[in-house]
Symmetry: C3
């Protein structure tokens, strides 16, 4: 089941990359690269920083096929993709929930401090989008106006708090994932954003 969610998240991330790249008037190759980077960038950075190489997407060709297929689909149906907006948003949100937890698990395996594990989870879930925005010459959107990383961090904290209690690992995993997902859904629904800090 995790694998299925992972693939759904990859699809959503790849498509979000395509839409941003089209807005930037890139050619087909540029669009494919941005789709790729958005989908695997966070996990690649995580793997590099903990020294787990070759990085994940290089060891499992499935990701490459899924990303290419999603990108081609999104390019062809770009004018219709609005109809899928809600589904994509859901995939994306479920994807970041899972990516956060995958990053945390990798941190635990590498015997890192819980706070570092949460950072690793947040990097896994959000830095694909950061690299996408940098390559598109924009200030990363998650630094400006979305409760995105915050959802990852709350999920990560939940994970470690629940780990103290004697309940099954699976249940901890699922609850923490739900915290990420619900936080983001509520934030978007009620237009909650982190405060901007103005010069005084």
């Amino acid at each position: 089941m995790f694998y299925t969610i992972d693939i759904l998240g990859t699809i959503a991330f790849a498509i979000s990359g395509v839409l941003v790249a089209i807005n930037k008037k890139m050619d087909v190759f540029g669009i494919l690269i941005i789709a790729f980077v958005t989908a695997v960038g966070g996990g690649t950075l995580r793997d590099l920083m903990i020294g787990d190489t070759p990085v994940s997407w290089m060891k499992d060709i499935t990701y490459t096929y899924v990303i290419l297929a999603s990108a081609v689909f999104a390019i062809i149906f770009r004018s219709k993709i609005n109809y899928l907006r809600t589904s994509l948003f859901l995939f994306d949100t479920i994807g970041i929930g899972l990516y956060t937890l995958v990053g945390i698990e990798r941190g635990i395996q590498a015997e890192l401090h819980p706070i570092i594990c949460i950072a690793l989870g947040t990097i896994t879930a959000s830095f694909g989008g950061v690299i996408r925005d940098v390559l598109c010459n924009e200030i990363p959107v998650i630094f400006r106006k979305e409760i995105y990383a915050t959802a990852c961090i709350l999920g990560g904290i939940t994970y470690f708090l629940l780990s103290e209690i004697p309940i099954q690992d699976n249940i901890v995993f699922i609850i923490a994932g739900i915290v990420v997902i619900v936080t983001r859904l509520l934030a978007v629904k009620f237009k909650i954003a982190l405060p901007l800090i103005y010069k005084t």
Copy 2:
């Protein structure tokens, strides 16, 4: 011979970095860094992702000398460099042909899937320019208007198709390199570019 071509490619990449950096009104240090990054950025990213560290340019000081010398030369003769434009373009094109194949070979050594090897070759040949453009605050030029990565990918496909046939490794290598070079030369000569994807 490969080493000679590698050095010629390094020279061409370093000089292209200098020219872009001067346009951005950088100081001498900035220009040197951009020359460096353009020349070794793609190979560095490749080495990091497959876990081959310290990265290549750190293990062979020759690259550093060649890049510094090329950059100083390009700074001094910047007003005359137009006369060298054709030579530089040839060096650059031969360089990407070779860099692509070096990346593919490294991927094969790391026992990666052929498609991943081709991606690795393309990254080796083209991401130096991507990092250069990001540091210069531009959307990477290869995402917008050049048959550059496409040439790398076609060369990579040729390489793996020919590997199925019982011919010598050297010949496979040379033919695949020629495919990269000829694709790019033809694309530039006949002004062929990948289609842009417009919003509909």
Copy 3:
């Protein structure tokens, strides 16, 4: 003592990140990330390139606490931080002196060529700021107008020249650090900058 200087440098780098991020109208999360990246980005890049993973800040939680505390402090007192400008500049300058030497030592341990070690020291001291500027969608300031990397390079050269003479390692370390610091202080005081290279 080195550890204390390291922490002071981390504080100065984190606060400089906060100030840049506030100017870019980022939200709280974005500001924290920029503080983090400015403080640990150079060391992370160094660790990745020599293959020393998990990267340093992941193995010592102190850095995370120091950066978070510095960032919160800087956000709260952002209107008063001008009074600290001189102290911060001193911390920052001492920090780059130390970071340069830490990078060089790591290079020596990895048995790299002296020139590569100096490059590694310079990357450690200056690429946190480069990544900060890239994420803030600016051309990195050290490529344009500050004697910053140049100070690192001069300190590195001093280090290797003195290593040839039979004096204590500690003294070599201290003199080289002082060269970095004094070079930068003099450059700022007398408004010395590297020449810009104009098109001719």
